[in-house]
Every structure is written in C-alpha cells, then in structure tokens.
Amino acid sequence: MLAPLHRWIWRDDERRVHKLIRFGETETDGGRDILRAAEVTTDPLLRRLYLVHAIDELRHGMLFRRRAASLLPSLRASTKRRFYADWIAPGGHGADDLEVGDETDDSMLAFLHLSEKAAASRFTVYRDVLADDGPTCAVFDEILHDETFHMNYTLVQLARVSPQHHKRRLWRARLSRLWKAYLRVAMAIASVLGGLLLIVQYFVLLPPFAWLAKRAARRETAGWVAISSDHDSITRQY
C-alpha cells in the first residue's frame, strides 16, 4: 500500500545513499547487539547461532556501506539540508532498542524473531521499489535470504528453550515493541515541543545576556590566564 511513498523516497539519489549508509550503521549496531547476546548466553547452541547471525548482520552492514560508497561519486556536492524520511523507511532493526544484558534467552529470541520479520517485510518493499537499480536490489536480495534463516532459527530455538511458553513470549515481545514504539513517538513529540520552547526562550530571554556575554568576550585577551587559589577546593561544583 505504501509502495508509491517508498518509491518517492528512494527515487532521490542522495536520499538513497543516505539511507543505505544509515541501514549499514543499523545492521552493524544490530550485529554488535547479537554478538553481545552470543557472549552472555550460557546455551552453547544459541551461542553458535547468535555468532553466525551476528556475522551476517555485520556483513550486511558492509554490503550497505559498499553499495552507498559506489553510488557516492555520482552525487553532486550539496550542502543543503535534506529530508531523509528516516522514520518512514527505517532500516533492519528500525529504531528497536535492546539491553542485551537484561534479556533472557527466550525474550531475546522472541525479540529477534519479530525484528527479523519486520525487517524482512520492509526490505521486501524496498527491493521491489528499487527494481530499476539492479546492484542495490541484489544487496537487498542477499540480505533477505539471510533474514529468512534468522527468522526461522529464532522461532525454532524459541520453541526449544521455552517449549511451554513460546507463544506467550512472542505476544509479550509484540506488546513490548508496541510500548517502545509509543515511547519513541511520545519522546519525539516531547523533544520537538521542548525544542520549540527552548528556541522561544532563546530569542525572548537571552538577547540582553548575549549582549553582556559578547561585551565581556571583547574585553578578554587571548593567552595565559593565571589560575586562582579557589582552584584547589574540591567541594564545589562550580
């Protein structure tokens, strides 16, 4: 349904490069998280699978970066700020956040399964709208092949480590993703509103202080400044 929107997003060359670079970073970060999971789990089979998964993710990061690098020379230099639509078209693990050390094996597997599923569905859309860009399409194809394995093994292993409760785990992970998505939206709105308030204060309250600060700066001379004796007290924060 959103294919026309994604087609528009990916049509712009600069935006395409930016997105590939960002996807590369997301995949690399995700790979490091999964690597961490491999290092903290006590289950030898999971450790091996996580390691394979992490290596895949790190390789995906490299594939994205290489493709972006190959497109870079064709771009004209531009200093204009652009709209990249990052939140409309997120990367592999999107904006999912993860505290690997706090997760149990089953919650980690449930999280990974859902993340991989979501990533696979997004990447399928991106691949389809990029049909005219063969090399980028091939990158998505290769990654999608791996994502299928990741989706499958995480589900199979979840059923193994939590045979009684794996469905409940998946539902809990879905709810957790939903909650985190709500928090992200709420924080983004709060951040925008907070930023606006601060900008208003900046222009309304700060000008006289700015004038004083600039006047003081003009009086300062560059070079050495002697260090005063109050330097030695360490009970103060200022």
Binding site: A210, A213, A222, W224, I234, Q237
Partner: protein
Amino acid sequence: MKILGISAHYHDSAAALVVDGVPVCAVQEERLSRRKNDAAFPLAAIEWCLERGGVEPAALDAVVFYERPMLKFDRILTCALRAFPQSWRSFPHAMRSSLGEKVWVRGIISSYLDVPAKKILFTRHHQSHAAAAFLTAPTRRAAILTTDGVGEWATLTVGRGERHDDGSAAITLLREIRYPHSLGMLYSTFTAYLGFSVNEDEYKVMGLAAYGRPTMVDKVRRLIRSTPDGAFALDLDYFDFHTTAARSFSSRFVDVFGPPRNRYESIDLDTDEGQRFADCAASVQRVLEDTLIGIARMLHAETGLSDLCLGGGVALNGVANARVLAEAGFERVFVPPAPGDAGCALGAALYADRIHFRNPDREVPDHPFWGPDVSGTELARVAQEDGQRVDRFDDDALIDGIADDLASGGVVGWMDGALELGPRALGHRSILASPASREMRDRLNRDIKFRDEFRPFAPVVPSPVADRYFELPPGGARLARFMSGVFNVRPEWRERLGAITHVDGTARVQALDREMAPRLYALLEAYGRRTGVPVLLNTSFNLSGEPIVNRAVEGYSTFLRCGIDVLVAGDTRVLKRTSVLASRVES
C-alpha cells in the same frame, strides 16, 4: 581511606577505587558495556570496582567526580550566548543534554550509591589530568603539562608537582589557556575535516600524517597564532565548533584547505586528493608538535625541573611526545597509560587522597593493569562446547608452544591477567604476531582488524634490548613503557621488522620490563630464541569499531570472527580448526 573516582558523560567513562592511598582497581565502562567510547554514567564500572575492592558504598569516605559540572555548564551557556544568534540551532540540544543529566552529577551519584551529598567531591578536569599524570609517575618533582579538547574552561594547563620529604604531595597549576583556544580542538577539527570521528580517530590523523609532507604548515598557522606571552590563540573565523555541535570547521576553513573528505570514501594515497589529505594531516601534526614544544620549553626554563608529566588526550600523540622529549629540554617525560578522560577517574581519586585529605603519598604500582582478570577455565569451557581444540599447559610449555606458533607465522590472541586501563593494549589483551614482513601487516589490516591499510602496528620489545632495534633517545625507554612515544626503527632493522615499521621508518614502541608483564616478557625471549629477534607485533585485541576485549568469551567470539589462529587465556590455548597451524599440529 576508601575513595571512588568517576569520569563520565563526555567520552570514555570510567571508575577507579583507591584504598589507603593505593589504587586497587579501575576500568572503563566500554570494556564492560561493550559499547566503544561509552560515555554513560559508569554504573557497571562502579559496581565492578566496589565488588573487586570488597567495599560497600556506605563504607566509601569520598566519591570524586573528575570535573565540575556546573562550571562546565557555565562554559556551554556562555558560549551559546556569545554566539547568539547563530547558536539558535544548537542551543536546545545543548540545554537538553546538560540539564537532562550532566549538571545533576551530585544527585545522580548520591541516588545511585546512596552516599550523603557531602561525601561527593569535584576536582577540576585538568586537575584530574595533572593528578593522573604526576601522582602515578615515579618522580619526586616534575613540571606538569596537560592539554586536551576542553574541560570546564581550560584546554591547556601548566604547573608543577612535588612530593615532599614529610610525605605530603602538592600539585600547583600555575596558568591555563581557555576555550575556545584549544590545541585539542584544532586537531579534532582536522580529524573531522579528514572524515574521521572526533574524539575517537585522532590517532588515524597521526598515522596518516606519516604519508604526507607538511606543505600546508603556513596555512595551518593562519588558524593558530602565538600570543605575546608565549601561549596561542585560534582564529575563530576558521572554526564552527564554538557555535554549533554540527560542524567543527567553517566555510573559510574549506576555502583555505579545499573540500573536506567524505568519510565513506576510502583514502587513496596514489591520487592527488589522497595526498592532499595526507599533507593536511602532516601539516597540522607539525604545528601541534611545534606548539607543544614551545610551551614545554618555556615550562622547562621556568621550573628548571628535569622531569615532565604530560596529561590530557593530546598526550596520546606519540610523535609529539617523542619530539617534546627530544627538544624541550626535559630528561624524562612521563605519560600515564590512560592520559585521556578515562584516566581522570584514577586521577580524581588520587588528587582527593593526597591533596584534599592530605594523606601521605604512597608509591603507585607502575603498570596499567587495573581491570578484571581473564579466566582460562572460562575459555576452555566455551571452546570445548564448540568442539575446538583446547590444550591446557603449565607456563613454560605454553610459552614455548605460543612462540612456535608465532615463529610459524601464526597470529595469536593473547589474554593474560588483569585488563589494561587506557586505549593501549600493553600485553594483557593483545593480538601478537611476527613483526618480520609487510605481508603480515597487510594480513592483519585486511583479515583481522578490518581497517584502513595506512594504519601502522606497534612493536613490543624487552626493555634491555630495545635500543638494539630502535633509536631510543635518553629517557626514551620510559616514554616507551606505555607505548607513548614514536621512535625511529634503526635503518638496518627496517626490512626485518617490516610489519611494524611505518612508512616514515618509525614505530610506536613498547619497551617491556619483566616485572610489568612477566609472561609476555618470557614469550618475547622464547620467540627471540627461535628467530633471533625478540620483537613482536602487538596490537589491541579488538576488531574495528569494538572496544578491547575483557572476558575470555569476548576474546573467543573475536577469535572466531577474524583470522586469528590461536587464542590464549591464562593457561589455556585454543587452536582454530581452520588454521594452517592446526593442520601442522595434527600432522
């Protein structure tokens, strides 16, 4: 007294515990959280330090934060006001960042550790650097020079430290240069211009500099001028770092030096563009060195002291350190293993102990190994679970076996004892290899570290024979103790030490004393008996973009992901099944 030191919130968070005047332990948060340059409040590091020291938070006599957060906020706010109205875009971000967490350090520490607010103390940023440099150095009195990007207001300080006969110690910082005039920011601006990450990749600029010629020194000098009192000042028209967090250099800077490098494009030194970037790096490196030497000379003339303690992130610049030693007039230059912000946790704790509480000075063990220990048993367990070939040996047999592996061209992941504090792997979390050929350097860059081909590797050599292979000036061995100086490889050894000889014939040498890392020392001797050259390539045990490994399992996962052939932790050796060495052992 039990004193906890903390550094946090900007880069390289860390915690350190000092008990009765002696450091017990210290660790960077990134080594535990596994997030490179982790700047978060170092909760994991604090918990580990307290557990290691067997100290309950209530039993702490003081918790010392490494800088004054309100004074730092004063600088951030003042700079926003001075840049009005250009700072409107960065102002909300700066305020949210500062007011969200960074200025409430006393409350944060108090609530996390449940210690009364009066026990929480604040050294100044450069006091912490100075203490980390002087109070850990084996010297009675020394001049002190600290320099980095910026602390609260200071970017560079000079002073002196003294240990008195009555057991007390004193650190007197005499004067400072204030933000925005900063050597660290000058270098970081070029780091950003050259497409590297600020506060992280400055060492890449230093490595790149060796490939260039300082043809743009005059242009760089337009950016930084000497002041009549012997200090320096930046021409702020060329910079943007003081008005926005988004960009370090201005369009005028680009007019002088040309378009900046795109960070996603590799540097091709065979092209004019690649050479321009290398020349740029060489030029700013030269100006940094000359400026530091000028200030150090002045400090030497003023204090008449023979020793200099260097602190702050700029002290990680080994090329500049070596020139300061050679040209500033000091006989010895001391640089701690963690001169950057991570080391400030230890510096702040020591400053509180010696200066604030006036406790008698105690000798600080002269090594960098303050972190968690590695377990050979843990490595054996995980490797056996994966069906790897695992052997456990006594020390002599292990050393002999590893020396054989290295002499056969193997690459060894070496974990031994406690983790290093600071960015250098100094023999406890190292990747070791033969230093003999350039092919080994290329193999390490390509298959193991996954990093730019222009990056050099460092050697480790037993201290008594270091001078045979490297041109160490008087005092050089001390500077090389923690890999803090770059020195010439003797011309007759450059071919035989091809993997560690940089393009300009230099190397960042580690001169190892037996007492500091006895097992690595024994390995160097054993390797020397086999090859005639007791020198090994020593690079940090991590992959590009990751922190140095801490636990055995982290070393193991790194081992599986790259071309390391052999992994050692304590008494345990794991041989990779796919390694050529494995088939040799089988046969």
